[in-house]
Every structure is written in C-alpha cells, then in structure tokens.
Subunit: 139 residues, 2 copies
DNA sequence: GTATTTTATTTACCTAGGTAAATAATAATT
DNA sequence: AATTATTATTTACCTAGGTAAATAAAATAC
C-alpha cells in the first residue's frame, strides 16, 4: 500500500482513539459526540437529516441515536410526517453538553496548535482533493 | 468539529468504501487485503509481527487472519516458540495475490494521479505532523 | 379511490476498530 | 527445581462503519 494511504488511515485511527479517551470522562464515544455536536449546531433533526449531513448510512445513525437515548442525552419525537423521528437534546443532555464541547475544543486545539493557517488550509485542500478523486472510481 | 477533522474522517471512509468495492471481485475486504499485502512484503510473520507492523491491536489481527484462513488465502503454522503462530500464504493465496495487487495498484493510481510529487510529499508530511500531535495527548 | 411507488426508519448481519481478561508457553527469579 | 513474571494468542464484548431486506407512512399514478 502507498505509504501515504497507510499514514492517513493510521492517523485517523490515532485521532479517533485519543478523542475517545478524551470523551471517556463524559461517558461518550466519538460517534455519539459527532451526533450531539450536529444537533447542537443545527437544532432538532430527523434521522435522515443527520445521516445525510454526516454522510454516513442510516442504520449507523439509528444505532448511535438509540444508544444516546438510552444514556439520556437525547429524545426522539414523532415528526409531523409520522414516518420520521426528530432527534433533539434531553434536558440532561442540554445541561451536560457545554462541558463536553469544552473538552473536545481543547483536544482539537492541542492537535492543531503547531499548524499555522496556511498549513491548515493546505492540508484541508489536499484532503478534499483526495476525497474528490474517490468519485472517479465508480464500478 | 473542526471541518478539517470532519473532512479527514470522511475521506478515509470514502477511500475504504471504494477500496472495498474494488476488492469485491476478489472476495476480499480492505483489512484482509492489508494483511495479505503485509505478508507478501515481509514474508511469513507471527501475529505479533503483524499487529506491531500495522499498529493495530492483536485481537483485530487474530480475527482477520482467522477469516483469511477460512477463505484459504493463508495458513497458520506453529512457530519454534510454541506460543506464536506464523502466518504465510497458502498455495491458493500465492496464486491469487498478483491479480489483487494489480487491482489495488490501479485503484491507488486513480486516487493519486492528479497529485504531483510535491503535493504527495506535502500531504504526507502534514498528515505525519498531525499524527505526531496525537502523542501530546496522554491522559 | 385503490394500487403502486417512494421515503423514513429499523432489523439482521457482515467487516473492523477498541479494551479487559483468560490461557498457555516461555523466561526470569529465587 | 519451583515459583513468578512476561509474552503470544485468544475470547468476550463494546463502538462504528457497511449492505440488504423488512415495515410503515406518505406521495403518486391510474
């Protein structure tokens, strides 16, 4: 395997693992955090809103949202269209979110602090260019 | 979440998914491919050799190697140290490997073809720098 | 107005990563 | 030599991604 891809995969694993240990004190995992962050940013969302936004398949979101409901971070309510379920913060979740956000922002800051704006921009552009290339591989 | 991290995660998911569909014609998944590639490069290896090389936990390798044995890609033999199991290609696996390698090289080439050497080098360096930062986050 | 199609979600099951603890063989201590 | 510690692998179980198919509600077609 091209060492570039090897490094990219390993780096994302590393980041996910470290993010998970940073989230441990809040009894959360990274994918759970991602959903909380998303509904905090966008307000109440249906499952479809969420998986389209995160570009992940629907069953993955169903599972994580179900777990978040068990843990009393969010509630699922029926939408006007009775097929859809709307995900929003529970009272508990609303209270606890800011502390998690603070932890994660500190973590991200630690990752990126030695990157200047130009380097961040370069990395973002190169990654997006690489992602764009994946579309040229349709079976 | 910082859009940079979001893009990196999404890009690796995209690449893995596309690699999986490229491997489908060979009845393989990406992690299985990674192990085949590794023993092709390094020759017969113990499980510990493999997980240290790939920087993945041991149980993950145990599982994937067991699956590869079921599928008759590899064989596990007892080492001189009777605790360790040595992983090497089966006869079938040895025969089938080159075709898979060719597919994957084509796939990787398609991903990277619009990157010149400087861009590849830049991306590799930025990713490695980012990975290095994860070590500064010890709980 | 009924039948069909589409859409939203879920269920079942696969790979793929992780941790913690069990087991068995080897190495080290005493 | 017997005990203890280390090492290699495995088992059990968690999150986290995927696909395929089931279900139920809504939208569309006829």
């Amino acid at each position: 395997m091209n060492p570039l891809f090897h490094e990219i995969f390993q780096t994302t694993r590393d980041i996910t693992n470290k993010l998970n240990s940073c989230l441990k004190e809040h009894d959360l995992y990274s994918s759970q955090w991602t959903i909380l962050y998303t509904i905090n940013k966008n307000g109440p969302m249906s499952l479809t809103d969420i998986w389209k936004y995160l570009k992940v398949e629907a069953p993955t979101v169903t599972r994580t949202v179900a777990r978040l409901e068990q843990l009393d971070w969010i509630v699922r309510t029926e939408g006007e269209d009775r097929r859809e379920k709307i995900v929003s913060f529970s009272e508990e979740g609303k209270k606890k979110f800011p502390a998690v956000l603070a932890s994660v922002l500190r973590f991200e800051e630690g990752l990126i602090e030695t990157f200047n704006d130009e380097e961040q921009q370069q990395l973002l552009e190169l990654i997006c260019k690489l992602k764009g290339r994946t579309n040229h591989w349709e079976i």
